[in-house]
């Protein structure tokens, strides 16, 4: 019970606070907008040339207020927003009216999740193993070479790497298709061909993500392990003649894993924001592209929906992580 109160309760409170702050920010930000979205939409309708009598305009205004969740006082609007959210209803998209935002998200989500879960997990595993090894043998030339390469890639904005890959492997040497998630006009009948087609289209975006991902995980893991190597128990193990491989995997990497697992959850949670840049550069039909098009068309409901979803997803991910953490780290269990 004491464990529950001391460990679990603060984390659940934290979870609720994150969602509360996220939701409140997303509520406030659009209301700081200097232009009135209802007025804007009305102007768009009247500019298109239709003559409407004042009563019709008034009716449209009412409907729009309701639709945008702008009806009543600020407090009422705020409560309405939370009530809608708890039902998982982000309202209709302004642009693709009246498709609910939720439906649009549901169509794009599998693409993003498929691409990002694979690349995140893959680069996490490879980056951690390489980082651990490079830290352990940090005096060897190949380890220093790996470090230098990772150090070079790590700070470069992801956008530039993606762009370079696209130029190199799609325009200069046309090995992979330039854009899209599948060949145009392909029907979605489950077949070997379809799978190959999807994989081929996903390869370049995946490659760019994996390169950057490996470099990032590599650098953090190398730092973690090289810090651990100075610990007394490792030095003792070395003096006692425990084999290098065993020290590396069972003593160093295992201990360095804990913060890395937290990092993995955080980056898996980020997925729901969509790999915005990846998907825009490679025109991949996922959440990021959806978010990008919502930016361009000014579809605030959709934008808010995706943002909120990513807040909830990342907070849930962190909470889940906190719940399994005691199983991974015995120190928390026995404290």
């Amino acid at each position: 019970m004491a464990f529950l109160k001391r460990y679990l309760l603060p984390r659940i409170v934290q979870y609720l606070v994150v969602i509360f702050i996220g939701g409140t920010l997303i509520f406030i930000i659009p209301r700081l907008m200097p232009v009135d979205p209802v007025q804007q939409t009305l102007e768009r309708i009247t500019i298109q040339g239709a003559f409407l009598d004042p009563r019709a305009i008034e009716q449209i205004r009412e409907a729009l207020l309701e639709l945008y969740g702008l009806k009543g006082s600020l407090t009422e609007q705020y409560i309405t927003m939370w009530r809608r959210l708890l039902r998982g209803d982000f309202g209709p998209s302004y642009v693709q009216f009246p498709t609910p935002v939720m439906t649009l998200i549901r169509i794009s989500l599998p693409w993003t999740v498929g691409l990002l879960v694979t690349t995140t997990v893959l680069s996490w595993i490879v980056g951690n193993i390489l980082g651990g090894i490079a830290a352990y043998y940090s005096t060897r030339r190949w380890a220093q070479l790996m470090e230098n390469i990772a150090m070079l890639i790590r700070p470069i904005p992801y956008y530039i790497i993606a762009l370079a890959l696209l130029l190199l492997l799609a325009y200069a040497l046309p090995v992979f298709p330039v854009t899209g998630g599948f060949s145009i006009g392909r029907r979605f009948v489950l077949s070997w061909d379809l799978i190959v087609d999807i994989l081929k289209h996903a390869f370049l975006p995946a490659l760019s993500l994996v390169i950057v991902g490996i470099a990032t995980w590599f650098m953090t893991m190398r730092l973690l392990v090289s810090n651990l190597l100075a610990e007394d128990y490792i030095v003792y193990a070395q003096i006692a003649g425990v084999q290098d491989g065993e020290i590396l995997y069972n003593y160093a990497i295992r201990n360095a894993m804990l913060p890395q697992i937290t990092g993995l959850t955080l980056s898996l949670g980020q997925i729901f924001g969509g790999a915005l840049i990846t998907e825009t550069v490679f025109s991949y039909p996922g959440l990021g592209t959806l978010l990008y098009s919502s930016i361009n068309t000014g579809d605030y409901n959709l934008m808010m929906g995706i943002t909120l979803l990513s807040v909830v997803a990342i907070a849930t991910g962190v909470l889940l992580m906190d719940l399994i953490y005691p199983f991974l780290d015995p120190r928390i269990r026995y404290e």
Partner: protein
């Protein structure tokens, strides 16, 4: 402080590289003030010329001199980054000191908020903000917006330092001899906290400038202000690569690579300098 910088120069080539790159770019940013053209104007020079002795880095399809445009971009990006860093440092130091020194309920409250900001996915939220204010965002206001969101992790770092300082003997001595809280913090703690502020500032600058590039590439900042991000945006959107105007796209990209690499190396080397454990290991590594 000066001694530390000197030691870094001698010991660490990465620091030297980072420092030189940033210094050169800083000079470039100052020189931007002598630009013969207003960077916002179009068609001040002939279009699409390759680099020559007259136009060092060529001209772009909007009739702007890429060289001067680039200097302006560096200047604006650096100023934006600096504003973001300063404003986020103010929040981070205030929150970190208050939470760490006061402790108790204040600490728990502030840390809950801080942790929330660590967890919150900032990119979508920043996109929401910038897409609403788009062209109204000046270099200053974009810097402040990035500052408001970029403080959380550093506040945590500062807090944990203050937490450990508070338990040290000299704090008790100071309190018992009647030193005021303000004096304790600024006289006694600042020398410990200041290196942390510098080290986190580098990372924060990296983050802020990277975010600016991302937002600008998506077309979410005021596009007539030349920054590294907007330069890339214009070049990409005008199909500079397909048309073969390599000088136009390559200039901001190469500049970006240099700036980001330099800042990253600076932060790595300062961090190592501050963490004696890593420093010892490096020395061993050099020997071995």
């Amino acid at each position: 402080m000066l001694k530390a910088v000197k030691a870094l120069f001698q010991r660490d080539r990465r620091f030297l590289f980072g420092f030189i790159v940033i210094a050169v770019l800083f000079v470039g940013a100052v020189l931007a003030g002598f630009s013969p053209h207003d960077p916002r104007l179009w068609n001040v020079v002939p279009r699409d010329l390759p680099p020559s002795s007259k136009y060092w880095l060529g001209t772009n399809s909007m009739g702007q001199d890429v060289f001067w445009q680039a200097l302006w971009a560096i200047r604006n990006s650096l100023v934006m980054g600096a504003i973001a860093v300063i404003s986020s440092r103010i929040i981070a130091v205030a929150v970190g000191l208050l939470a760490g020194y006061r402790g108790g309920l204040m600490d728990r409250l502030l840390m809950t908020v801080t942790d929330s900001f660590v967890i919150l996915p900032l990119l979508p939220i920043l996109i929401l903000i910038t897409s609403i204010f788009k062209s109204r965002l000046s270099v200053t206001s974009l810097g402040i917006v990035l500052g408001i969101f970029g403080w959380a992790w550093d506040a945590r770092v500062i807090r944990s330092q203050v937490l450990s300082l508070r338990e040290r003997e000299f704090t008790y001595t100071a309190v018992l001899s009647g030193m005021s809280t303000g004096k304790i913090i600024f006289r006694e703690y600042m020398p410990y906290i200041f290196p942390l502020i510098t080290a986190t500032a580098m990372n924060n600058m990296l983050w802020a400038m990277g975010m600016e590039v991302t937002l600008a590439v998506l077309g979410l900042v005021s596009l007539e202000i030349p920054t590294l991000g907007t330069m890339i945006h214009w070049a990409v959107n005008s199909q500079a690569m397909l048309l073969g105007f390599w000088w136009w796209i390559l200039t901001p990209v190469v500049l970006c690579v240099f700036i980001f690499l330099a800042l990253y190396l600076l932060s790595l080397s300062i961090n190592e300098f501050l963490d004696p454990r890593i420093r010892v290991q490096r020395l061993q590594g050099i020997k071995g």
